[in-house]
């Protein structure tokens, strides 16, 4: 009976098969390679646990392990503190600031966190602008950027939009009657939020929070540039970069990164199990919005402004850095110049063109795969469909670094047939595929969430009226999912542009490097910071404009589908 499902739906089966093959070749096999090496004796090739014993016997690795966990948890906490008021204001009130929150909320995602890190060091570091001013006026300083604090600070500013976006979406899906009935029973204000709204939005929050944890846990660039090396990801990178691709310790740490990330994902899934509330019952929905009273408006604007100024701090610092001549031990740079921009456009335009090309291709691959997988998982009965979802989602737990190492080990021996002397592992297409694999989970979650909101009866009625499966997907499911698919594309695109760990491994020559790679290369030296910042500004602009455009599209679509309340 189970097998006949495949025979009955050849189209779906073929799609599932193709996706499975893609995931197998470009995700499963490279990662399994990495794990193999971790359990392999470097000299004899035999199975061994010795590498892990070495790991635990090294104090530096143990410390790095706990530091990574601590930074991950604290970042989630701080990011939540940023997101909750913002999500609340936008979903609850007719608030002019909502548009600002929505668009500015995306901005940190556009900028590579490690670029933000350097700029934040200039602003909030021990000798940064803020502390110089504080010391001058009040005689004290705040250790924003000291050691792990710096990583937490930068990461939470950078990644809180994951929580914001997921939480806002979840809030928007709550049926108005859910809160009205609570109000009717005497509940209001913050209590209403805590008892009804928050629990209903919890699935969205947990999804966002687990993403933040994973991102922070995996991130390589930020600690490296803040010179915090006693964390897991930098340790893995430093081992391989300094000792070489044959050293097992890098692989052992990779296994730890993967295992911890996978288990946190699994925990999040457990928490969510059976709690996917589809509470919208008639067409539109969403919480009732009301106008703010004047004092509420003042309060809300104050919070929004504080958070937004923090969010914009890296960009502000980056702008100063990109236009500044020399900036050291002073509140502002000594003088301003356009030289950095002139030099990057004259010398390295390929960083920009590569980024647009790679990110768009990766984004397209992601939404196509994401929509197909979401559909197969939610709407078909094919066996193993759940595994498709698990596998694709597992990519979120694989640090880019690990994928990079895995690709090198797996594909180095394969030549691209029509190109001379071109290994597949170092070909630019490999970067695109690796980017799409790495960003697939985000697009997939967005697509899945969107499809979950589309009642199956909408599709069934189309089929009932004679539409085939394929045209039902094309004419009903996809248009109704459009907002989610676009959101998936945006996150995928924006994220692909900021990927560093993997790119560092896979880029073989500068002309193949995307923006993030170029920025990292420049930022490594104090002299290159200006040009690196200029590249960073270009990255922010390019991705920012795309994001804004797709945002407008989403807004317009949503307005189209909001139906009036029936009497």
């Amino acid at each position: 009976m189970a097998i006949s499902e495949f025979r009955k739906h050849p189209g779906q089966t073929a799609a599932m098969l193709l996706i499975s093959l893609f995931l197998l070749a470009f995700l499963v096999i490279p990662v399994v390679q990495v794990v193999f090496v971790a359990f392999m004796d470097a000299t004899t090739g035999q199975f061994t646990l010795l590498n892990f014993k070495d790991f635990f016997n090294t104090a530096l690795f143990r410390e790095s392990f706990w530091n990574s966990i601590y930074v991950g948890c604290m970042s989630v906490l701080v990011a939540s503190a940023f997101s909750m008021p913002l999500a609340y204001f936008t979903s609850r009130f007719e608030f002019r600031g909502a548009v600002i929150i929505q668009s500015l909320g995306i901005i940190p995602l556009i900028m590579p966190p490690f670029v933000g890190a350097v700029a934040m060091l200039m602003l909030f570091g021990r000798n940064g602008s803020v502390n110089l001013l504080l010391d001058q006026w009040f005689g004290f300083t705040i250790p924003f950027m000291e050691g792990l604090n710096g990583v937490i600070f930068v990461q939470s500013i950078h990644y809180f939009p994951f929580i914001l976006i997921n939480l806002s979406a979840a809030l928007q899906n709550i049926d108005r009657a859910m809160e009205e009935s609570a109000q009717n029973l005497g509940c209001s204000g913050l209590r209403l939020f805590r008892r009804i709204v928050l629990p209903l939005a919890m699935p969205g929050y947990v999804a966002g929070a687990s993403l933040v944890f994973l991102k922070v846990f995996d991130d390589l660039g930020t600690p490296l540039l803040l010179n915090v090396n006693n964390m897991l990801a930098p340790q893995a990178y430093l081992r391989i970069a300094s000792i070489g691709i044959k050293d097992p310790m890098g692989y052992v740490i990779s296994v730890f990164l993967v295992v911890i990330a996978l288990s946190s994902m699994w925990l999040a899934m457990l928490a969510l199990k059976g709690k996917e509330y589809a509470t919208v019952q008639k067409g539109g929905g969403g919480l009732a919005k009301r106008r703010m009273r004047p004092w509420e408006k003042v309060f809300a604007w104050m919070i929004v402004l504080v958070i937004m100024s923090l969010v914009l701090a890296p960009h502000f610092g980056l702008t100063l850095l990109s236009f500044g001549t020399i900036w050291s031990y002073s509140v502002l740079p000594d003088a301003f110049t356009f030289d950095h921009f002139v030099s990057i456009f004259a010398e390295t335009p390929e960083y920009m063109t590569n980024t647009v090309l790679y990110s768009s291709l990766a984004g397209i691959i992601d939404v196509v795969l994401g929509t197909a997988i979401a559909y197969i998982v939610l709407r078909t009965k094919l066996i193993g469909r759940q595994w498709l979802d698990y596998t694709a989602m597992a990519a979120v737990a694989i640090p880019g670094l690990v994928i990079g190492i895995g690709y090198l080990r797996t594909f180095f021996g394969y030549q691209v047939p029509w190109l001379e002397n071109q290994s597949f592992a170092t070909w630019w297409v490999a970067i695109v595929i690796a980017l799409s694999i790495r960003r697939l989970p985000y697009a997939l979650r967005a697509c899945t969430a969107a499809l979950q909101q589309v009642s199956a009866s909408l599709e069934e009625s189309a089929e009932n009226l004679g539409a085939s499966k394929f045209s039902t997907v094309r004419k009903i499911a996809v248009p109704l999912m459009a907002g989610g698919i676009l959101a998936g594309f945006v996150t995928s695109f924006a994220n692909a542009a900021v990927e560093l760990g993997m790119t560092l491994m896979l880029v073989s020559k500068n002309s193949d490097g995307p923006l993030s790679y170029g920025i990292y290369v420049y930022m490594q030296s104090a002299a290159g910071r200006g040009s690196g910042a200029a590249l960073g500004i270009v990255a922010v602009l390019v991705v920012g404009i795309c994001t804004l455009l797709s945002h407008i599209v989403i807004e317009r679509r949503q307005r189209k589908y909001v139906m009036g309340r029936t009497d």
Binding site: A177, E180, S181, Q183, N184, L185, C187, R191, L200, K282
Partner: protein, 367 residues
Amino acid sequence: MNNTEHVTATTSAVGVRLEGIDLSFGKTHVLKGIDLQIEPGEFFAFLGPSGCGKTTLLRLIAGFESAQAGRVIIGNQEVSHLPPWRRNLGMVFQSYALWPHMTVRKNVAFGLEERRIPRNEINKRVERALDLVGLLDLARRRPSQLSGGQQQRVALARTIVIEPQVLLLDEPLSNLDAKLRVQMRRELRQLQRKLSVTTIFVTHDQEEANTTADRIAVINDGIVQQIGSPMELYDRPANLFVANFLGVANVVEGSMTEENGKVVFHSSDGVVVVPVTAGNQGPSSIVFRPQNLTILPQDTKPQPGTTQLTGKVEHKEFLGGVVRYRVAVGGHFILVDAPHQRGETAMPEGTPVTLCLNDDQVIGLTH
């Protein structure tokens, strides 16, 4: 609701008064000068077609909409400016709006917890409410594990447990299947009697309103068309809308004139001439129900006290208890119900017939 030993009698039921309610959504004028008085302990229904404003009116009372003009007075207190959570009204939503993240017990306890009632008191009252709706066994379930009827009872228990001043029901039966709906409306009525809580029930189904409500306000186009007991509305509709909305009505247009001290109605084409007990002269309509006529084969001796109309059976429908004939009388089509007895056959289409209209059942409506 099978348990009668726990009677939560609300000590003093309160009335609801609406004065000059005017409400617009943008350019749409939804409620136009509504004035209503609902008596303490009354089961009152807002009846009207969809889009007539009845749900908006209910939401206004609950505090979810605010009117541009007018006052809502509950008991002796004006509540127009109170937020929903200060009004102490219990509303049952059309979609039930049970919180999926809470068990049945938590859902029901919610309103009491909000009122900072001691835990043991809450437990007692929740038990009582669940017992009252017969769901004590399912207290630990989640709403998603309940059937539609059970969800409806939870919604009801959740609302009555707070002993609201007024119970507001927004089409509470519309999501249930037909059989359950009949059962639930009886239970609802019994429960309301038991609690003697002032209740407002919004529905578009006249049968629901008739079977449950003490009085009904028929609403159309944002205006209260008529208020009265179900029978009053049926027997003495104030206008054509009410006559047509409640039950089946034959309407004939024409005018009234006075002849020999009596008021007589003439249809515009002169085919229907009926004496009317009350009514002003001038253009008007008459309304009579299908059961007010007797259908007889032509040339049968007419019954006394009736007006005879001759016509031809144009169509017939067997409804079980009665056969409904559509009879062409001149240019009019008149519906006639003939009670059906076992073994009787219906008159075939095309049969020439005489209709005897009971004069005293004719309602005259002056335009």
